[in-house]
Amino acid sequence: MKFERTLIIAKHDAVQRGLMGEILMRFERVGLKLIALEFLKATEDMGHQHYPTTTEWLEKVGNRTLTEYKEKGIDPKEKLGTNDAIEIGKMIKGWNVEYLTVGPVLAMVFEGPGAVKIGRKLVGETNPSVAAPGTIRGDFSSDNADMANDFARPFYNLVHASGSVEEAEFEIGLWFDAKEIFDAHEVHYHQAMGFKGKFVGKNTDKK
């Protein structure tokens, strides 16, 4: 099986709340290998590149909000000054960029079998109020859509995790230089997965 890489960012709310260690621990505990880490304040340019700019994406994001507003009986024009999906998409992207660049964040790359999906699973739903207990967002946040709407801001959901293998590859390239990634070292997942000592199966992997 091919090992994947995923970009995990403890965002600034996690930094301010002292939850970086807790978040990091959960990825280590499940057996993923930490291969890159930096505490940094992203530039606005990085923030803009981090989120897609395609019309398709902006429209999708805008429509999601429009649907939600409709369900809740909120007038988008009154709340956001427009009811155009793309315009709203741009606005939401702006909030996301602001959230990602407002202060220092802890950026990390984890490697392991199915790392991208595992990462998303540990992080939980985007909306913390519906994220399952046991997930990072479910355990450490109670933010919800009404709060986010009231203040016209994104969910404060503590952590970013790449959504797909392709996205992960792009994001890792954006946040890290190749020489800042250390994948050659032997690490605990060999123990975590029982690669050391007696084990069922052809135990031919590195130590």
Partner: protein, 204 residues
């Protein structure tokens, strides 16, 4: 926050043995729970020069290392001499120094700077005694340390695993921060933790 004299910055390195055991999150969590603020962190591969100059190259320091080793032998100097091949503390210190450099180069390390009230002493307290057998439960080495100098010597490693390197004084912290992060180092201390108001506001 910096206006208070007692607010210090201290250097903490998670050594390859700590990284390999997957203890980074647990170590960070302990620092954060103690109210310390992260102001710099990076995963790197140390150069030979960086690793060597991390430790003070003085006889006094080497003697201290030798004496710590002897304490692990419950001050049994005869056994100590048999196993290290010498009872010259400086010579023992030199051997350990060489082993430490080798350990630091054996894989990536995680370097970090933490800021807080009496941060140097706080981090020393949380890390616990150098040899885990003497470290209290609740400290990093007390909870997760398993190695000892006699075991290391017997298994041909000389250097035992103790997961971390930390600064032992504010002066040493300044030197180590510059040494590892460079002359142009700018910390990221321009933010407040959510609980900082409770800790540093004048209106209690």
């Amino acid at each position: 926050m910096k206006k208070f004299d007692s607010i210090e910055q201290t250097f903490l390195m998670i050594k390859p043995d700590g990284l390999k055991r997957g203890l980074v999150g647990r170590i960070f969590r302990k620092m954060e729970e103690a109210g310390l603020k992260l102001v710099a962190a990076r995963m790197i591969l140390a150069t030979k020069e960086q690793a060597g100059k991390n430790y003070p190259d003085t006889d006094e320091w080497k003697k201290g290392i030798g004496e710590k080793g002897l304490a692990s032998y419950d001050n049994d100097i005869k056994r100590f001499k048999e196993e290290y091949g010498t009872d010259d503390m400086i010579e023992v210190g030199q051997k350990v120094f060489e082993g430490l450099v080798k350990l630091l180069l054996s894989g990536p390390v995680l370097i970090s700077v933490w800021e807080g009230n009496h941060a140097v002493d706080e981090v020393r307290a949380i890390a616990g005694a150098t040899v885990s057998r003497f470290a209290s439960p609740g400290t990093i080495r007390g909870d997760w340390g398993v190695d000892s100098p006699p075991l290391a010597v017997k298994s041909g490693r000389i250097v035992f695993s103790n997961l971390l390197h930390i600064s032992d004084s504010p002066k040493e912290a300044k030197r180590e921060i510059t040494h590892w992060f460079g002359d142009k180092f700018k910390d990221l201390s321009d933010y407040d933790r959510v609980d900082s108001a409770n800790l540093f506001d004048e209106s209690w």
